[in-house]
Assembly symmetry: C2
Homo-oligomer: 517 residues x 2
């Protein structure tokens, strides 16, 4: 899931009367039971999650880990009997990037190994460095003036915006019944961008950061240590440079655990000489600048409907300092398990079911956006391709490893009663809620942007916001098996319903060309 | 605080009637106000904590960091006007030990830097190693047989007893009024060792571990990676070898974040070749095997009472993977701040006030035990020295960085109403509770063992048990300034009262010789 996505809960029109005409449902109750039994009693979702996380490793856009994951998932899906399994290029992404060495320690006033990771797409240090530090505090470009001539051959320490605090709130939580109810009741927020001030501030901050990066480089600094937040050994990561093949150079940079960064800053500001030993070795891959998605199908069996498609997906790429377990091996493992369950249960779907594991989501939903553009429609022009008419539904999962509590109907009032109906037999698993609200930040938006019915499930937050989302601690341990089993059953059930019913899912009115995503 | 100390809440006889005869109190109300103002409005406790943690660094028994802390605290206490400031040897401790390099990464199946720290008193690797791994699972010595001949030149991965779980409880908490009430009401537990089964199991476990360490060494393994627990980037640390000058050799060993250890184990157990790159360089200091305490005094001014002493203390040593902020720079900073406050407020104490910052507490209360033996009495023989009669009280602080909520009267029924009286004007600061209960695990026990009135304060637990106690994340960030200020005022008030009242604090009956501590 992309940064800030959790903030983009944009409201929409209210739920209409429950009397919305429903299409005939062709779900076989026996098959629903088989799906549930397979998912609950013979689950392989944790095994899949193990391969995606531990075996493939971190899966940054364009990295060797993502390539491993592309190959492994394609092979695994084909091995489960899916057809047309392929690693499908979506267009040009940019440079791949991998870490080959990462080491940082304080060597004066005493030795202490430090906790950090190279920012994505930053270059290597020229071998092991041992350098003294300068703390740079700048709220504006003008503030940089006083550091002119001070940074040559130094390691720059940037400020810590959010120091860790003792927390009296749990890291992980589940939605309460009250919160779920509120999700369905809260009046719709305006559909225009809700907080332009915040977005403008964010743009200004990014622009300042770019200027600072240029300044450090032009002043001849050796490297940068920065921090994006976290606590207790958890730290957040991001990209420190553009991934484009022609991106301009930046300095080597490590993102640090805030406790370590703050210690260095406190010491330096107290006038105590601080020396850092630093070695990063990063590898840029420029042979293949393309980005990829992995797709595979369970072919439809109904003569009239088999050319229609029900899609389900999640993004396969992750950040680089951990194995991207909740963001989003969890979603991929669940989606893969859902199609495995459907195969194992012997489903003969009327429509074709297609799983897509998206590449480069973290860098801007690139995989899904371009897939939609290549297969369905260009949101800029709203020129639609023939397959646009054939997509029955797209289901996405990308809010961590928490069990599914319901679904965002994404402002599609006509679909809400259908989902409500599908959820009824899943109530004992905790999946009950249909909200008309939009939710943002992930790949269903790519479909929604061109008027296709794309949906994201509501999931228990667990420790996604505090510990796992884009951190160095997004590891296999953060995946509760019971939650992933439940989610697999819910997704398999939804996909089965969508593949069997007489009609495709109802759509919202076609959006105008160039609608912002 | 030593491991398992929190478990040793040993009960005692019930509070007697409130009509216990009280000694005349000579506290000047104006002075109590001055103490409070100085501690709350002109606090320097965080500055002291910064020097103890960031500047001195980790302060393992016998380490260079502890030597720095000994020198700095002595100088600082003298600088505040205390007299007789000294770094006082208590006897023979053993070898000092410091880390000069610590690096561990997985290099196959892909590169990933790992989070860990050398176990205390383990030797260096012979330069950087690159080795494959063997997972060793053994519940008994016999289980080791199957690994014979399998370990040569390998890195041994030991099991993870407590894998991290998603937690729905807050890391940090404060005592509720109800919990504090319960502390005073709970019936006394038996005074004999409460859980001999648990202690026997613990001894058996330690014996097995020692056998395993011998086995790895004799089989020619290259190093060991183990884990003691933790989560989310927090990991617990301990010592991996005896510190005695003639201790037998062990292998280099790193204590790992459980997430990293578990990933390595899962990969290896799935048959995927795992390669580790490891370099530790540790330095043994054998020139000076002595252990030390730091002491300093505010001299008494009453002709009759100035030869009597009120002591306050906390241990200055810590573990090595962090800067020992809550265990126990917090306690030292508060005790130092308390004497600074008393000096700044212009207290002319009737008795002499002596602060002691103990060495080698984490290795068995060595500093305080030997100080007591050298100055007051030998618990084995109960031969008392002349100063035994002169100690009015000893106050200790070693339960983290939480504010003081009251005091453990340590089974001393006669002292309880006196403490209750002293706490009254501190109620608005949250310090209200006197419990007759014993609490264990730290340096007041050394006094209690020879019949001297030694007491430990009740503190809010905060995140001591979950995040800081003996972890790599026991850093300055874990110290809430308001809590340390409050604690400083409470301690200064208690010490002031004890230095001014007509009589020394009442004592429990003299214990028999050789009473177990």
């Amino acid at each position: 899931m992309r940064p800030f996505a959790l903030l983009f809960l944009i409201g929409c029109s209210l739920l209409p009367a429950a009397a919305v005409a429903q299409q005939a449902e062709k779900a076989d109750p026996l098959m629903l039971t088989k799906i549930r039994d397979e998912g609950m009693d013979r689950s392989r979702v944790m095994e899949t999650a193990f391969y995606l996380t531990d075996v493939c490793g971190p899966r940054l856009a364009g990295s060797a880990g993502l390539q491993r994951a592309n190959e492994w998932t394609k092979t695994q899906l084909a091995g489960w009997g899916l057809t047309n399994a392929a690693v499908e290029p979506w267009g040009t992404f940019g440079r791949g990037w991998d870490i080959e060495k990462s080491y940082v320690a304080m060597t004066a006033p005493y030795y202490h190994a430090l906790l950090g990771a190279p920012k994505a797409w930053t270059p290597s240090t020229s071998g092991p460095l041992k350098k003294s530090v300068v703390v740079v505090k700048a709220a504006t470009e003008a503030d940089l003036d006083k550091y002119k001539g001070q940074l040559r051959d130094k390691i720059v320490l940037t400020e810590v915006a959010n120091p860790p605090k003792t927390t009296f709130e749990p890291d992980a939580r589940r939605y309460t019944a009250e919160e779920l109810k509120k999700l369905t009741e809260t009046p719709a927020a305006p559909t225009t961008a809700p907080d332009t001030d915040r977005m403008a501030a964010r743009r200004a901050q990014l622009a300042l950061r770019a200027k600072m990066a240029d300044f450090y480089l032009s002043e001849g600094a050796a490297a940068v240590l920065s921090t994006r937040g976290g606590s207790d050994g958890t730290f957040f990561t991001s990209n420190g440079a553009p991934y484009a093949a022609d991106a301009k150079p930046v300095l080597p940079e490590m993102e640090m655990a805030p406790e370590d960064q703050l210690r260095l800053i406190r010491l330096a500001e107290a006038g105590i000489p601080v020396e850092i030993e630093l070695e990063t070795r990063t590898l840029f891959q420029t042979q293949d600048l393309k980005g990829y998605n992995v797709v595979a199908e369970i072919p439809g069996t109904d003569r009239k409907l088999k050319h229609e498609v029900v899609m389900l997906g999640a993004h396969l790429d992750s950040w680089h300092a951990a194995t991207g377990a909740t963001d989003n091996a969890a979603g991929c493992a669940v989606m893969m398990e859902a199609v495995r369950i459907l195969k194992a249960a012997g489903v003969q779907p009327r429509r074709t079911i297609r799983i897509a594991l998206w590449g480069e989501e973290e860098q801007g939903l690139h995989g899904s956006k371009n897939y939609v553009k290549n297969h369905f429609a260009d949101p800029a022009t709203m020129q639609v391709l023939p397959d646009h008419a054939k997509l029955a539904a797209y289901f996405n999962l990308d809010n961590g490893a928490g069990k599914i509590r319901g679904i965002y109907a994404q402002g599609n009032a006509a679909v809400a009663p259908i989902f409500t109906d599908w959820l009824k037999p899943l109530a004992d698993l905790g999946a009950t809620t249909v909200t008309l609200r939009n939710t943002g930040g992930t790949d269903h938006l790519s479909f929604d942007a061109v008027g296709l019915p794309g949906f994201q499930f509501i999931q228990d937050p667990l420790d996604y916001g505090t510990r796992t989302h884009h951190t160095n601690m997004d590891t296999y341990e953060r995946l509760p098996a019971d939650d992933l089993k439940q989610a697999s059953v819910v997704v398999a059930t939804f996909v089965y319903h969508a593949a069997m019913r007489d009609q495709k899912l109802p759509r919202k009115p076609q959006p105008p060309a160039g609608k912002p995503q």
